[in-house]
Amino acid sequence: MSKYKWLLGMGLQKALAYRINYAVTIMAAVFPIALQWVLWQAIFNYTEADQLYGLSYSEMLSYVVLAALMAQALRTGFEYEMAEDIKSGGLNRFIVQPLSYFGFRLSVFIGTNLGYFVATLAVMAVALWVAVEYWTLSIELAHIALFVLSAIGAFFLQFMLFYLLSLTAFWLHEVWALFESVRVISLVLSGGVVPLSVFGESLEWWLSLLPFQYLIYFPLQTLTGVLSFEQIFFGLLLQFFWIGGLMLVISTIWRRGSRSYLALGG
């Protein structure tokens, strides 16, 4: 266990060394946020509606901002390293050493992203505070606590999803296009661009059968108090099941993949 803790520390050190890099990505996130801001302003002005898709102007804008930040908090990047390990034989090292690859990736992911995650949550807290002050949005403390819980769940769910995705490199030789498409699709389906209610009731229902909404949509709905406590607990339970279920799928696929692994090079 201590070796994984140590790796986590190494990841954190690496992340701290690249803190400027992080600041730049957060700054870059400002542009899509501004774009959406202008867009929704125009839509609300044009339609002169009080509510669109069940959300008021201020609710919609705060959702869009918070969702963009949440998507930043959940960013990954290890999938390319994993594909490279699988393709070029870097996995050999892990197979012959008493170190689980899953454990290694998870520790390094937590280590490198913990800093980003906490920092982004802090930025979100500021945004939220502004929204509460400016638009007199009401947020309950209990909802904030439950949101943090669901955000941590989203953090692990995101890891499982992208870890599973990376395992396709056992069978596919070019993964770049797949990774990028899944990243965009996942961003949309998780509610990272617009609330899922925009897609209409029936599609929203279908989407609730997929794990993606537990990444961004569900945590934000928890935060803004749209859901009842009962719904929140049910959602947390489902999120937890998705994490566990994906872990099972991962271990099955890993076993099959590493059986067909060619151990190229050297």
Partner: protein
Amino acid sequence: MNVIEVEGLSKTFKFYRKPQGLSASLKNLWRRQIEYKEAVKDVSFSIEQGQVVAFLGSNGAGKTTTMKMLSGILHPTQGKIKVLGHTPSEREERFKKRFSILMGQKHQLWPDLPAIDSFTLCQRIYEIPTSLYKQRLARLSEVLSVSHLLDIQVRRLSLGERMKMELIAALLHGPELLFLDEPTIGLDFLSQRAVMRFLQQLVKEDNLTILLTSHNMADISALCERVLVIQNGQLIFDDGIASLQNSLGGLRRIHIESETPLHSDLLRRYGKVINNDIHRAELEVADGAANQVLQQLLNEIMIKDIRVSAPPLEDSLERLYSHQGQVA
């Protein structure tokens, strides 16, 4: 006690063929021709504790594939393997802590970090107690004379220095068994010698079992007592190194240096002339005849220097390979 036991080991790879050109690429989209390559065929052998065994064969003969199966990287298609009492493909942690594999072309050190950081990672991964770790690191880095290089970024080290660091990383957890795949590849002869001398010392002091592949015959004859030769995936030779040399039918080489010119016509009377550049010649004779030939040569030629040796290992191997080629 047998450290390695292999019985009826086979590995078949599946691959696709793609002829040159775009049309072939398009055809491949619809139907790909699957072919199979038997990289290792029905190989059986066992290695005792403390033995140093060379694993020889030409490129693509199946050496590395076999080593990967022995270390659990690849699953065998068929056959049984027991290494240190474990089945490698089960990849148990207890098993992994007892051996090391070092591939000359694959590195485990992180190039951007100084070696010492990678060593600390090794300590964590293998859960080596700190005092033992420090003691081993001090000893290994001293013997390989790299103590002063531990805190330099690995990418800034020379190839030889990096190889020594890789060796240290492979040995820190005190493995009982060492797989070495081309450990001296790309090294200059001074570094080669340093590495080989170090391995010799290690075998003597720690009773380490080593399975080594190399194309460098000097490595092999310096270190190994036994030779396994694999050709086209099949084990074609398994015996002591002396008997590999004798497999040429007991020949001896006589190296002659002389003040006066040496004539091939004269030399041919005694044996086969391997080469002759007037003042220096090499003669191949039957083992039993060497003594007699020596005496006669001393009588007939003004000899400056004369010496008898076994024919180089390469010759035995070449004959072994080509002989096998004819059979197959």
